[in-house]
């Protein structure tokens, strides 16, 4: 991809992008951004209603998208999701493995093993399965780019055991996969949002299980979902052609201070 004066204007024309967790929040904003940049989008979500809503929003904006209902913890589902993308668009150039859950912040004394397994299955195994099925398709067309959803909780402790462990895992697997496939022109990176104004964070805040205060960072506010989407699109673009295995922090300076 050439470095163009229009930046990312229509840099993704004719390409295909897959986004999981595309039915709300950051996933939806990123699906919309990919479509706006010219890509065909596979909008996947555990909620088929959410995915359909996102597809309708993209269509309304003049873009092209297809919905898909997926449980990212299921190998069969993820394989089917990638196959669905190829069936519709004939190729896969970009993937954003974004789907995740917070799992709350129970203490260790009443810690539920099943909750740990569920958080790890969705947040960590999900991106791993995603890469397993996405990479072979990208290799067929000479390369691609993958962004996995981590979090500042992948780099520091936030008091939610399973969530923190799952996000550290995402960064680790991102680095391991990145160095293995970089020479074959598949760039794999992660994005680490801080506080973002999304339904997941709002739910957590309503349950009083996560502090949601914009006073927590130097910028003094929560991010809008489209600000995380912009980072994901940059990582997928030719502008980031030499960025490999990096957990890109988008946190309003939270970790810097």
């Amino acid at each position: 991809m050439a470095f163009k004066s229009e930046g990312l204007g229509h840099a993704f024309n004719g390409k295909a992008a897959l986004v999981t967790g595309a039915g709300s929040g950051i996933g939806r904003a990123t699906a919309l951004a990919f479509a706006e940049a010219g890509a065909n989008v596979l909008a996947a979500d555990i909620s088929s209603e959410g995915a359909a809503e996102t597809v309708a929003m993209i269509a309304e904006a003049g873009g092209n998208a297809v919905p898909f209902a997926v449980d990212v913890a299921s190998s069969a589902d993820v394989a089917a999701m990638v196959a669905h993308t190829i069936r519709h668009f004939g190729r896969l150039d970009y993937a954003f493995n974004n789907a995740g859950i917070s799992g709350g912040r129970p203490g260790l004394d009443d810690f539920d093993e099943a909750l740990y397994d569920r958080v790890m299955a969705i947040n960590a195994k999900g991106p791993l399965l995603g890469m397993k099925y996405q990479i072979p398709e990208m290799l067929k067309t000479g390369g691609g780019a993958i962004v996995n959803m981590a979090s500042v909780a992948g780099l520091t402790g936030v008091g939610a055991f399973a969530y923190t462990a799952s996000k550290h895992a995402v960064i680790g697997m991102t680095k391991a996969a990145a160095i293995r496939y970089a020479a074959r022109n598949i760039r794999i990176n992660a994005v680490c949002p801080g506080l973002v104004d999304t339904p997941m964070v709002a739910r957590a805040a309503a349950n009083n299980v996560a502090a949601a205060s914009p006073d927590l960072n130097p910028v003094g506010r929560a991010a809008a979902p489209h600000e995380i989407a912009a980072a994901v699109l940059w990582l997928c673009s030719g502008q980031a052609a030499f960025v490999v295995g990096h957990p890109l922090v988008v946190d309003g300076g939270m970790l810097a201070g």
């Binding site: 930046g7 990312l8 160095i179 940059w234 980031a240 960025v243 988008v250 309003g252």
Partner: protein, 254 residues
């Protein structure tokens, strides 16, 4: 609206008349910015400005000694006088003086620290009032993989570049409320005069770096420019205090 568009923005690039700096200046200009090159060499700067103008962008240069506070202030004033605003500062200028730490002279140590670290600080200080008045801005500092790894035969360089990462974080937390985002780019092995000289001095260093780079190639100034455009644009308004390696994965691999 394209959040990566820099149309109407004014960018200062120190050391922007050659190598990575020129690549950055070109990249920002191609994304729509007007560019002020701050450097010491008039002839090189004139050629660089002409080069950017030929591609249809506005550019100028100002002879600057970034180790001198007055010179940095004059750079900011001149940029405002010429272009009416100042939105982006790219602290790119830097030097490398190699040598074993036990035999590095105090003069060499101070020269490296003064150019690479103090120079970046003085330029940031000089542009702050304009950015604050305008309601925001972007400062991008050039680090190095030496910011995060130890460097044999380059202790002063590594210390100055490590300092860049901490300067970046500190300016970010200080000026976050002023809507000024401060970040760093840490280039890996990039084709430039500096790395070509290193290869001439120590043949084989190129091949050794390449062997450890997962991407399987050496970087280019355009690779750094791509990160510069992101960090200079509205697309990174929530990104501050971070350092992005642009290294083909060199820092990720053991």
């Amino acid at each position: 609206m394209n959040p990566f568009d820099l149309t109407g923005r004014v960018a200062v690039v120190t050391g922007g008349n050659r190598g990575i700096g020129l690549g950055i200046a070109e990249g920002l200009a191609q994304a729509g910015a007007k560019v002020m090159i701050a450097a010491r060499d008039a002839a090189l700067s004139e050629t660089a400005v002409e080069h950017i103008r030929q591609r249809g962008s506005e550019a100028a240069f100002f002879l600057t000694d970034i180790e001198d506070q007055g010179s940095c202030m004059a750079l900011a004033e001149n940029t405002l006088g010429r272009f009416g605003r100042l939105d982006i500062l790219f602290n790119n200028a830097g030097i490398m003086i190699g040598g074993q730490p036990e035999s590095t002279s105090l003069v060499d140590w101070e020269r490296v620290m003064s150019t690479n670290l103090t120079g970046a600080f003085l330029c940031a200080q000089a542009v702050f009032p304009a950015m604050q008045r305008q309601g925001g801005g972007k400062i991008i500092n050039l680090g190095s993989l030496a910011s995060i790894f130890g460097t044999a035969r380059g202790a002063a360089y590594a210390a100055s570049k490590g300092g860049i990462v901490q300067l970046t974080r500190s300016l970010a937390v200080s000026w976050g409320g002023d809507n000024i985002q401060v970040n760093a780019i840490l280039p890996g092995y990039i084709e430039s005069e500096l790395t070509r000289r290193a290869e001439n001095e120590r043949p084989g260093s190129f091949a050794a770096k390449l062997a450890r780079t997962p991407a399987g190639r050496i970087g280019t100034p355009q690779d750094i420019a791509g990160a510069a455009v992101f960090l200079a644009s509205a697309a990174s308004d929530y990104v501050t205090g971070i350092s992005i390696p642009v290294d083909g994965g060199y820092g990720v691999q053991i």
